[in-house]
Symmetry: C2
Subunit: 300 residues, 2 copies
């Protein structure tokens, strides 16, 4: 089944201990789409400026990502410039220019409105809700969010959480959202806010999955070559949603497999700067690494 993502498209300038990259193709919808397309066709709703090059559009459309929902607006594309700490567990934003993304009011094209699987990348809860309201037959809707919205748009976020099926957050966000300092308590409390599924990302420590039916922990894929963590979270979400949309059966076993596929696509992303490594990944690469991850968690 098809999968819709609504989120940002950006130029990223990235500094890590392994080097720098200038004006790479980035943004949440891009990372998500390039991960999800490994499993299923992707429909993208986003916005760029007139400076967004044809080559980037080609890179995406050649990889099963439908760009009919990519608006090109007068002005410039969203840019972000960040620097990672020595251990790459934290980052500092040196510059952000929202440009055309600043006024983004996503319009889901008529032909996209019946898409059953929907991912709402990080954005204002009101904007995310406006997307939900445009969908005519949503089967499984998952959202990302961040500290800014948890603090400043809590009511809107809580309303969204009551309308959607799942939320993907990181460990500090789920604690902030629920006011619980213990991660297990926080995950359980988040379920009570509405979503049937709460996925808590812990970066290099993997993720926890909370539902009313099962709790599940998965470590990160044990890569030795982390060069740029940018986009890992959106790539995780892309692998997760892409796998689920492809099998089109929301069972506990499929959700569990989907979390492992998300872990694999995130591990691909962090091994290169920007989307480079992820864009070059094949489904065969994914399956090989999935088998390695299963070995890593099952041991002997």
């Amino acid at each position: 089944m098809t999968l819709l993502v609504v989120g940002s498209t950006a130029f990223d300038t990235i500094e890590t201990p392994h080097g720098n990259a200038e004006r790479c193709l980035g943004g949440s919808s891009t990372y998500f789409g390039l991960a999800a397309r490994l499993f299923t066709p992707v429909r993208l709703v986003s916005v760029v400026g007139e400076d967004f090059p044809k080559e980037h559009q080609q890179l995406l459309s050649q990889r099963d990502i439908d760009l009919a929902g990519l608006e090109i607006q007068p002005g410039k594309t969203f840019t972000w410039h960040g620097r990672y700490s020595a251990d790459m567990n934290s980052r500092e934003t040196l510059d952000v220019q929202l440009n055309t993304f600043g006024d983004f009011q996503p319009q889901v094209p008529a032909g996209y409105r019946d898409t059953p699987y929907v991912f709402l990348a990080n954005g204002a809860p009101a904007t995310q809700m406006s997307v939900v309201e445009q969908m005519t037959a949503p089967r499984f809707v998952v959202a990302d969010t961040m500290d800014l919205w948890i603090d400043n748009e809590r009511d809107g976020l809580l309303a969204l959480l009551r309308r959607i099926d799942g939320v993907i957050v990181n460990d500090s966000e789920v604690k902030q959202l629920t006011g619980k300092s213990n991660l297990i308590s926080a995950g359980r409390a988040a379920l009570e806010l509405g979503p049937k599924l709460v996925i808590v990302k812990k970066g290099e420590h993997g993720c926890f999955v909370f539902s009313n039916y099962f709790h599940y922990a998965l470590p990160a894929y044990p890569t030795e070559q982390v060069v740029d963590p940018t986009g890992a979270g959106d790539s995780f979400a892309g692998g997760f949603m892409g796998f689920l949309a492809n099998c089109d059966q929301i069972t506990l076993a499929n959700m569990q497999r989907a979390v492992a596929y998300g872990t694999v696509t995130a591990s691909m992303t962090v091994e290169g700067f920007g989307v480079g490594r992820l864009a070059d990944t094949s489904r065969t690469d994914v399956e090989r690494r999935y088998a390695e991850l299963m070995q890593f968690v099952s041991g002997v």
Copy 2:
């Protein structure tokens, strides 16, 4: 088979966000012994002062811990006073009085020297080595260490690592030991220093196990009631070594099960102040929680 532990016995004064406890029974050999005795008889080599009460000795000896190797020296018992941060992921030492432990030169009693399973709790590498040299038939020797020895006694520590079977360290220690900032690279590099087994503890994030034959990741038991993390690492080591000594077959599958039992005993410890919860734990409690942990990692 029997199991020997050599380490500290202490009075701990502990401050956590959940409350305070004064002059609790503590020390590495105590936590280790109370976890390991759930699986196998334990022989303890340690030192206390004349102020060490009979009740503490009774608590240990009533739980299958042989105290023939507990020296009582003139003077006072080792005391430690620490305070945990709000999230309990770091702690500050407010006061340490080594007292009788400061001059501890462990003498393994003659009747203990043929013990096949040996755990060298954190201590100076030269002291740990002196224990290895007293053993007549060691089958499986594992050591703990810390940043102080990695920095200041590196040669002694490297010599020890070439003599023993396994090492249990935390994530920052294995990076410091090997000079690798990636945890997977660090674990692999530590194997090259000699031990056949490297267990990297990541606190609430569980642990990684590195050997030349398999790599394995296990999350922590998902407890919601962490009240005092003191002794979690030694309790992990106790569960791990106790299970292995009991089954007395060092296979990959048994090492993997042993890691899960260590995870369970550590989770018991952190649910109470000091050794209280661990001392009250039964083998039935352990087996119930082991089954829950296996469910947590296998999902549906």
